[in-house]
């Protein structure tokens, strides 16, 4: 039987990918960010997930304004890193797990979460930056990846509560899959940031740290945060944090905090990172 072994939460700032791809990781500014992921890389090498479900958002790459799916599950064999206007990132092609993805789609849709099934999707920094932070720069990604794209670009995104409950349904789906697979789930995006308009540059470390605390010890508190509160307190684009709740919902209510890291800034954004494991081995 497949099982969810851990949740990984991290920002997916595009400039982090650019710094890595352009060999700037040793610069003090970037060392401050990458240094915070050294322990995480060691941890994931030990945990060795077979599959990572990566909850992320597309930034006007695969989805324009023609069609905006609220939840879109990548069910393809592979996903090509996209050209976001600066040329594609020099990272490996993302290999999917179509059988598990199809099983999840079927299970959660019958559980009343109406996902969009995607069989072709280029993936942008939202998906590839977290992979780079956790796995470095390998020739191939060390595991299969199932992308779950959440709309956080067109208001309103799904509520925190909806995301959390979808996480629970995903867990149920994974745990009813017959093959023995170790699955990690990533919640990405955030933390506080605003990159649009005259208020750009907004950072709210107090909000971010309270959010990290809540995820670790009292997820219901984070689930209750309203959209307008995210946007007012954590910046218009800080609303990406709802995606972390999908991953959180896929874990036990009580978890072990394995690791935490927080720094400001990476480019325009507060960087937050958390690793949580279910208590029962």
């Amino acid at each position: 039987m497949a099982k969810i072994v851990a949740g990984v939460f991290t920002s997916h700032v595009p400039a982090i990918g650019a710094a890595l791809d352009n060999g700037k990781t040793a610069e003090p500014y970037w060392q401050r960010v990458f240094g915070g992921y050294e322990k995480s890389k060691e941890w994931i090498e030990k945990v060795k997930p077979d599959v990572c479900i990566v909850v992320f958002n597309d930034h006007a790459t695969a989805f324009s304004v023609d069609i905006v799916p609220t939840f879109a599950l990548g069910c393809a064999e592979e996903f090509i890193p996209a050209d976001e206007g600066w040329g594609p990132r020099p990272v490996p092609v993302v290999k999917g797990h179509p059988e598990l993805a199809a099983h999840i789609a079927q299970s959660v849709i019958l559980d009343e979460f109406d996902l969009t099934v995607v069989n072709k999707m280029e993936v942008d920094h939202g998906l590839t930056v977290p992979l780079s932070l956790m796995f470095g720069q390998p020739a191939e990604w060390p595991c299969k990846i199932i992308p779950l794209a959440v709309n956080v670009v067109l208001f309103p995104p799904p509520t925190g509560n909806r995301c959390y409950n979808l996480g629970k349904a995903i867990r149920k789906a994974v745990e009813s899959y017959p093959e023995d697979l170790r699955v990690a789930i990533f919640g990405t995006g955030g933390m506080s940031h605003q990159i649009s308009g005259p208020r750009a540059g907004l950072i709210n470390s107090e909000f971010d740290k309270a959010f990290l605390d809540a995820l670790a010890t009292d997820p219901k508190k984070a689930v209750g945060i309203k959209h307008v509160e995210y946007m007012r307190e954590a910046g218009a684009e800080g609303i990406e944090m709802v995606m972390w709740l999908v991953a959180r919902g896929a874990l036990d209510e009580e978890v072990n905090e394995v690791y935490r890291f927080y720094t400001v800034p990476a480019s325009n954004t507060a960087v937050g990172h958390l690793i949580l494991e279910n208590k029962v081995a």
């Binding site: 006007a60 304004v65 050209d83 600066w86 540059g201 950072i203 218009a236």
Partner: protein, 135 residues
């Protein structure tokens, strides 16, 4: 018909929330920006910007905002930052450079603000808090 209630996010200062109304208004702006994901289109746009824009049915205001790189006005007229940043990329600008322009700061001032912890939320939650500011 009942009057539409004010959107609860309308009083966040210096912020245009990209909702379905904005998305409808800015469809052409965003689809133009989306077209810039292809290198051939970037080259065609650079060769003759005004001519290239004609295919996207922009309003005169939107056309002017794009041609003059009025980043905030593009958002007010329905553009979304993840789309308009592709125009920034076409101009060779980083995300942070575009962000700095929207705040009226130089890139150095903006980068310094971020290094010092970013723009505080204090005094930046509601439009009423901005009314005391100059300009």
């Amino acid at each position: 018909m009942m009057e539409k209630p004010e959107k609860e996010y309308a009083d966040i200062p210096g912020t245009t929330i990209f909702d379905a109304d904005q998305s409808r208004k800015g469809y052409g702006v965003n689809m133009f920006c989306m077209s810039l994901l292809k290198a051939d289109n970037r080259a065609a746009f650079k060769a003759n910007e005004a001519e290239y824009l004609k295919a996207f049915n922009l309003t005169p205001d939107q056309t002017e905002a794009v041609l003059k790189r009025q980043w905030n006005r593009m958002l007010e007229l329905g553009g979304n930052i993840y789309f308009t940043s592709k125009l920034g990329a076409t101009d060779g600008l980083s995300f942070q450079q575009v962000a700095a322009m929207m705040t009226g700061a130089t890139q150095q001032e903006y980068a310094d603000m971020m290094l010092a912890g970013g723009r505080s939320v204090e005094g930046n939650r509601r439009k009423s808090e901005w009314e005391h500011k100059n300009g």
